[in-house]
Amino acid sequence: MFDRIREKLNILADAAKYDVSCSSSGGTRKNDNKGLGNSHTSGICHTYTEDGRCVSLLKILLTNHCIYDCLFCVSRKSNDIKRAAFTVDEVVELTMNFYRRNYIEGLFLSSGIFKNADFTMERLLLVVKKLRLEQNYNGYIHLKTIPGASDELIKEAGLYADRMSINLEMPTEAGLKLLAPEKSHADVIKPLDFVQKQITQFSADKKLIKHIPKFVPAGQSTQMVIGATPESDKDIMYTANAFYNNFSLKRVYYSGYVPISNDTRMPILGTQPPLLRENRLYQTDWLMRFYGFKVQEILNDANPNLDIDIDPKLSWAIRNMQHFPVDINTADYKMILRIPGIGVMSAKKIVQARKFGKLRIDQLKKIGVAYNRAKHFIICLDSPYQLKDYQGTQIKAFILAESKSKYLKTDNNQMILF
């Protein structure tokens, strides 16, 4: 019995790990019924795996049996691997006991498709209902929406889950068709759209009626696999941008493809996952969501791919030197946010602090500005007078020369060819 549950957990956790969504934030559930668990607004990462990714949720598949044969997926039908399936009670017990020991923030439950979409969705629903209704469990639940499941089942699941997600898998329809001919982006868009409309409906009702149940309070997310198919960074981020706008997604995740198949349509086994590219895509995602950048400013036909050697914010700045230098003591917040070396927290502190007097270099450093980077783009009270106007490319050279990038030393997975 003990060995069987260990084996199942190993198989079904291993199969779920390529889904990179880990966040446990955005939930609003309180422990009102003196049961177990609640949501933490900003989420909690309880540990980190040796690859440096956060572990917040017990991320498992209900089963890795699957009727589909998507080339990029370990659980594809044609793959010769061990198969297993949890019972509803096993998932409930694992979740409750892990949660009680403060191992996890909650459950992330996904599944291979067995029989059909509705049958799978029903089983997922059984687990979450049992947790919520029988066990008084108020911890976080991230549930996969199974594409093709009926609206009634999806709607019911939304009443118990905190977040729901469906993966786009490939950034473009063409890419998806290449590796998973049975699937299309339309299958994803339909349920994403349905859940989004329900969320809007519920929050509109909440304004009128006080006691309305929660519906997917932490919103929806999706994931794209990066580097399995030849899309450009522009293709990827334009897709992400469209999904952020059209479905008010909370997050789009970018998952560097880890080779798991010998099929010639994809990078071969042993190829290093594109970790640095993934990092640059996340930086772009943050610039779009928190720094007021439009995706077109960062990626366009002239620059379809992100620079590998410098981050996208610096890259934008040196292409747009006409905006710089920015006077820290007078520029508006939006412009300060665009200065390389200044983050959201520092920018906020700057606009508050300068009301009390013009800011000097030493004060900026104490506030937390990465001054060695920012100095090329700003003027403050005691900035040294500079006769020469440097070109963007020169500034890039200065910064690269003095920066100890964490990637330049260790990243031999992309830079070195031989």
Partner: protein, 273 residues
């Protein structure tokens, strides 16, 4: 007057003046009383030190603050009027850092706040404002780490136990989080460094001290004292931690950055099997 070609005016010549040192007992009330005494006595430039850190100096004056609840309450009420909740929290967190320089910054910060119009706390150009926000950040980070890294072990009598030794005194900050979250189970979180803990008895959280039997492992009590299911779930969790790792993405530096080695002793998943 010209001395060595430097122009010195009479305004530049000041008497050698002695910095006053206030000594307090290390309590929050003591610190607040010190602020009261400062405004009462107006001693000019003053440093605050705790009794523990104070060493008498030949050319310095000192004054021992006698902690007084009424005076402390008045200062706290004054701070409440001038500062928003967020800053009162930063103030309290900085105090919990137990760093001796933090005490002086708190003292100077209070004086600065009382001497200026409302809103002065957002002057991040001021050294005490920035110092407080930094201490608060470190303490909040440690608090968050405890919320993440505490691992309960279910004991034979059904109580979930965790022994910790946080860098700062964060028990007062994490109490509510654990009370709200684990409302249906009894738990004990014990600060082994500061020798006190919290016990939740299904209705309220109480401060406790435990007298450990000699030779007991306080971090990981022997399995004989544990619930019979404890070993099973610890093993399953270790298995899960291994399965969730993607070997091709190995990044030890990032791993250690997120989970610094000093916390490994808490973590069930980092125990050597």
């Amino acid at each position: 007057m010209t001395i060595n070609n430097y122009n010195i005016t009479s305004a530049d010549i000041k008497p050698v003046y002695i910095i006053m040192t206030y000594i307090f007992d290390g309590s929050l009330q003591g610190l607040l009383t010190a602020v009261f005494e400062y405004f009462e006595r107006k001693p000019g430039e003053t440093m605050l030190k705790s009794t523990e850190m104070f060493q008498p100096q030949a050319f310095a004056e000192s004054f021992t603050v006698i902690t007084d609840a009424t005076k402390a309450d008045r200062v706290w009420a004054g701070l409440q009027k001038k500062l928003k909740k967020e800053w009162l929290r930063k103030f309290y967190c900085s105090y919990l850092s137990e760093v001796s320089e933090a005490y002086n910054h708190l003292f100077q910060f209070s004086i600065y706040i009382f001497k200026h119009a409302a809103g002065a706390e957002s002057n991040y150009g001021n050294e005490h404002v920035i110092a407080l926000s930094k201490y608060a950040k470190s303490v909040e980070r440690e608090k968050h780490r405890m919320e993440a890294f505490i691992r309960f072990q279910k004991t034979g009598d059904g109580i979930f136990y965790a022994g910790i030794d946080p860098d700062f005194n964060v028990l007062p900050l994490i109490s509510n989080h654990f009370k709200n979250r684990y409302a249906d189970q009894q738990w004990v979180i014990y600060d082994l460094k500061r020798k006190y803990g919290l016990h939740y008895n299904l209705t309220s959280v109480e401060e406790i001290t435990i007298s450990f039997t000699n030779g007991i492992n306080k971090q990981n009590p022997a399995s004989i004292l544990m619930d019979e299911s404890e070993a099973l779930y610890a093993t399953l969790w270790k298995d899960y931690f291994k399965s969730a790792n993607i070997v091709a993405r190995k990044n030890t530096k990032l791993h250690v950055q997120h989970v610094p080695k000093r916390y490994w002793k808490y973590l069930t998943e980092k125990e050597i099997l």
